[in-house]
Structures are given as structure tokens and as C-alpha cells.
């Protein structure tokens, strides 16, 4: 008989997970944010240069079709926003191929929400309130911290994150005994930022507190809007607790033309890096041409949040059946 039929997490964790879900629903219900569902299978998919997706065969007689498992519900939710849904949230599964490790499972649970009319600052207030609510009884967190990306970068490395300097960045890597960084990152600002942030900064963020980092450099903008006052930064935030990255949010891009341009740029980068081709979401572009309301949106990995609430060292400790037992 196989011995690994059992869940990897304790039964208590299942209870805690259910409690977290209930609290999230109460939280948004009290704020009149509508719970929605969007498809996990879609004809199009995100174009993020660094995400790999799962595809599946759809047998739609007489022909076959390729469908993507969604890496996030973002595009479909934005179509609802454009159609006039008002503020919405969703708890759903998201899928990212090739991601497996202490903090990653290729199938994971995400909370994603959009607030119509919210600025990034208002969104940050709400994130802080939500996490405080969810952590009651599990963690007694210190006051929420808010730092700019540039602040934390300078504090822990002495480097300027907004202007790329190969000499400064590589000198820093060599001084820290990581000569391989030069070969990995080359002259790509974004790669250097990912390398340095994940190796030297992230573990310091949010010691017993929610830490929000905002104002990401433009080369890391993804789907966020460029800051109107400083063209070097973008209105994107990331949230951390005890060094664990919980999620990512934006003051959302609403310009269909800019969105289309970013899709094309990202698809070009994917091609260049020999990543599997993706299909641009034309429905999203059409929805944005119709008009996406001004809004801010946030996605939080709920498995990681439960890790943070329970002090778990591995995502396997909070999942019933991680991929190797699925």
C-alpha cells in the first residue's frame, strides 16, 4: 500500500484555512465587494516573460483546441470591471508551471481583488487591515511598514535601484562572493534587481510585521501604471511578512494601447528567451478599449499567508496534497 496517500499538512491547518476563507468573505462582504468566479481554463494567457503555464487539449468536435490554465484571474476580472461589475474579489486556484520549492507549488490558491476608484495608498490601507484581521489570534504583528523600493534597496545594499550601473552592481556581487551574478544578469537591469532583491533584501523585510514595498523601478512594472510624478518608478507594491513574499498589487493600467504594447514587448522577450509562445488576450484589450474604470488591484498567495500565520517553513506544511502527492 502506498504510504503517501495522506495529506502533508495537519488537519488543524485545514480548519485554519477554512477560517481564513470565512474571514476573507466576511471582510469583503462588509465592504460590499462582490465575490466572483472566472474561468481557470482560457483561450489566452498572461504574457509575463518569467511565467510558464500549463496547457491542455480541449476536444471541441470536430477540431481540437489548446486551452491555458490561468496563471492568475487578472484578465477575466478586468473584463468584469470593464463591464461594470464594480469592486470584486475572488478566491481561486492559479497555475504556474515549473514552480516548485519551499515557497512554491505549481497549483496554488490566490486571493485577488480590485477596488474601483481606489488609489494605491487606499489599497495599501485595505491590505494592511485585511492582514491584521486575518492574523488575529495567530500572530501579534507590529505596525505595518511602508517603504519605497529604492529605500530598502539602498538600506541593505547601498545601491541605486532606479539607475542601472553595471560597475556598481557587479562590484557588490563580487564583494559578496557571487561572481556568478555577472554571467546570469549580464547587462539586464531587471535581472540584476531580481538577483539582488531575492538574495540580499527580501529576507530582511517584514520582521513580525506586514511590510509593503512600493514604487518599483519601471523595468519591473508588469501591469502597473507609471508614476505620474516620477517616470523612473511604477505604481506597484509587494507585500512581505517575515521575509515571505505574499503578493503583488498595482494601480492598474487602463490604457488599452499601452497594454497592447506591453503584451507585444513581453511576447518578444519570451521569444528571445525561447519560452513557449503565448496567446495575447484580445478580449482584455477590447474590454480596455471599451473602458476599464480607474482601479487598484491586489493578489495574495493564500498558501503563503497561511505559512506566515503558522510560522511554517514549507508550503507542503499548509497544503493537503502538494504536487508530488496530487
Amino acid at each position: 500500500m502506498l504510504k503517501d496517500w495522506q495529506p502533508t499538512c495537519a488537519i488543524d491547518i485545514l480548519r485554519l484555512r477554512a477560517q481564513v476563507f470565512n474571514s476573507i468573505r466576511d471582510f469583503f462582504s462588509a465592504r460590499a465587494v462582490l465575490e466572483v468566479e472566472t474561468p481557470l481554463l482560457g483561450h489566452a494567457c498572461g504574457t509575463d516573460p518569467q511565467l510558464d503555464f500549463f496547457t491542455t487539449d480541449y476536444i471541441a468536435h470536430p477540431q481540437r483546441d489548446k486551452l491555458f490554465l490561468q496563471t492568475s484571474p487578472e484578465f477575466a476580472m478586468k473584463r468584469l470591471l470593464a463591464a461594470g461589475s464594480g469592486s470584486i474579489y475572488q478566491i481561486c486556484k492559479a497555475f504556474r508551471n515549473g514552480e516548485s520549492g519551499r515557497f512554491h507549488n505549481p497549483e496554488f490558491t490566490m486571493l485577488e481583488w480590485y477596488r474601483v476608484g481606489f488609489t494605491l495608498t487606499e489599497l495599501m490601507d485595505e491590505i494592511s487591515e485585511l492582514i491584521e484581521t486575518l492574523s488575529q489570534g495567530y500572530l501579534s504583528l507590529d505596525a505595518t511598514q511602508r517603504f519605497t523600493y529604492q529605500d530598502v534597496f539602498q538600506r541593505y545594499t547601498g545601491l541605486n535601484s532606479l539607475t542601472f550601473s553595471y560597475v556598481d552592481y557587479s562590484t557588490f556581487a563580487l564583494a559578496n562572493g557571487q561572481s556568478e551574478a555577472l554571467a546570469i544578469c549580464g547587462y539586464e537591469h531587471g535581472l540584476w534587481l531580481d538577483f539582488i532583491f531575492s538574495h540580499y533584501i527580501q529576507s530582511h523585510l517584514g520582521e513580525n510585521a506586514v511590510c509593503m514595498v512600493y514604487g518599483y523601478p519601471v523595468c519591473q512594472s508588469s501591469l502597473a501604471r507609471i508614476n505620474p510624478l516620477n517616470p523612473l518608478i511604477t505604481d506597484r507594491i509587494e507585500v512581505f511578512i517575515n521575509g515571505i513574499e505574499l503578493g503583488n498589487g498595482y494601480y492598474e493600467l487602463t490604457d488599452a494601447r499601452e497594454q497592447n504594447k506591453r503584451f507585444d514587448e513581453e511576447i518578444a522577450v519570451r521569444l528571445q528567451n525561447n519560452r513557449p509562445g503565448t496567446v495575447k488576450d484580445k478580449h482584455l484589450i477590447a474590454a480596455m478599449e471599451h473602458g476599464l474604470p480607474e482601479c487598484s488591484g491586489m493578489a495574495i498567495g493564500l498558501d503563503r499567508l497561511i505559512m506566515a500565520l503558522t510560522g511554517s517553513l514549507s508550503i507542503n506544511d499548509v497544503l493537503g496534497f502538494p504536487v508530488h502527492r496530487a
Partner: protein
């Protein structure tokens, strides 16, 4: 030769890094949400024994190292080389004293041990975890002292020197943990 990608890296895997055979100790997948994925790998150089940390871009790969562990019998030392034999095939290997001298200080003739071969040449020798060896030289014991506090040096029949409790006498056989070089207990004959 096989090639391993970062997602196949796991503890114990033998790979070539900077032209040296290495064993992977730990592999951590690191990925900023929207950013590049990395693998932070702890790796032991099997030639020098040194442990280093190295980051790879996820998806990079390394050649496998033809490294195998073979159970062998220790035969003898000729001063320059230590000689070993595979019991089943009687195949013999010689190891440079300078390379394996330290591991061999626990070995008596005929003892079993593990010899790590890289491209069929000995790379290192690992004695069994616990060995029983006789003390050939130590200061006279203090009668009645059973605390073991402090201790004294004792030279074993293979030449190794370990600290033993004061009550342990010359001529006695003791059990030693070869991984730490520490005395465990006396062995009753």
C-alpha cells in the same frame, strides 16, 4: 554523459562544477513573484571537501559527474599509497597518502570502507561510522575517576589520537565515531 537541469538538482546528486566533481547538498528555488527564478544551491566539492553556495538561473544545467561509492577492503600502506580491494572482483585501487591519509587513520588492515571513485580513480575514502580500536599508548589512568571530565590523549593502533576519559587504560579497546573523531565507549572483550 547525463545533464541535469536545476529542477532535477537534489541532495546527493553528483555534478561537475568548475571542472571539479561535486555533490549537491541543498537546492532552494527562489523566485520573486513576477521576476526571474533562481536556484540557490549548496554544493560540496568532492576533491577539496569544501562547501560553497552558488546561484543558478532556473533552467540552467550541469553535466553529471561519474562519481560512485564502492565498498572496498583496506589492504595496506606502502608509505606513499594506500591500497584497497573490491572484495567481489579482487580489483585493486591505490590512493595517494596525501589525499586520503586523514580518513585512513581509522583503518586497520582488512577493514571495510567506502572509496569514492571519479572516472574510476579514487577521490576519497570514508571509513565506517564507528570503529573499534585498541589503545597503544596513554598516560596511566586515575583510579575511581568515572566522570570522563577533562580526559587525556590516547594513541590508537592505527596511529590516530583521540581524547579519552581518564579511567580508560592502555591496551583497552574503544569505540570511536569516525565522523567527529570522538570517543564513544569502552568495548568489553
Amino acid at each position: 554523459m547525463a545533464i541535469y537541469s536545476t529542477n532535477e538538482f537534489k541532495a546527493g546528486l553528483k555534478v561537475m562544477l568548475d571542472n571539479d566533481p561535486c555533490a549537491i547538498i541543498e537546492n532552494e528555488f527562489v523566485k520573486p513573484g513576477k521576476g526571474q527564478a533562481f536556484n540557490r544551491v549548496k554544493i560540496r566539492n568532492l576533491k577539496t571537501g569544501r562547501v560553497i553556495e552558488r546561484t543558478f538561473k532556473s533552467g540552467e544545467s550541469l553535466d553529471s559527474a561519474d562519481v560512485i561509492d564502492v565498498g572496498m577492503q583496506y589492504l595496506y600502506s606502502d608509505g606513499e599509497f594506500r591500497h584497497f580491494m573490491v572484495p567481489d572482483t579482487f580489483e585493486q585501487y591505490q590512493c595517494d597518502e596525501k589525499l586520503v591519509g586523514d580518513a585512513c587513520k581509522w583503518l586497520k588492515d582488512q577493514d571495510n570502507c567506502t572509496v569514492t571513485l571519479w572516472n574510476d580513480a579514487p577521490l576519497s575514502v570514508t571509513p565506517i561510522n564507528f570503529v573499534e580500536l585498541a589503545i597503544v599508548e596513554t598516560d596511566p589512568g586515575v583510579r575511581g575517576d568515572t566522570s570522563g571530565g577533562g580526559g587525556k590523549p590516547a594513541k590508537l593502533e592505527t596511529g590516530a589520537v583521540v581524547r579519552v576519559p581518564l579511567f580508560v587504560q592502555q591496551g583497552e579497546v574503544i569505540k570511536v565515531d569516525t565522523r567527529t573523531g570522538e570517543y564513544i565507549s569502552r568495548v568489553k572483550e
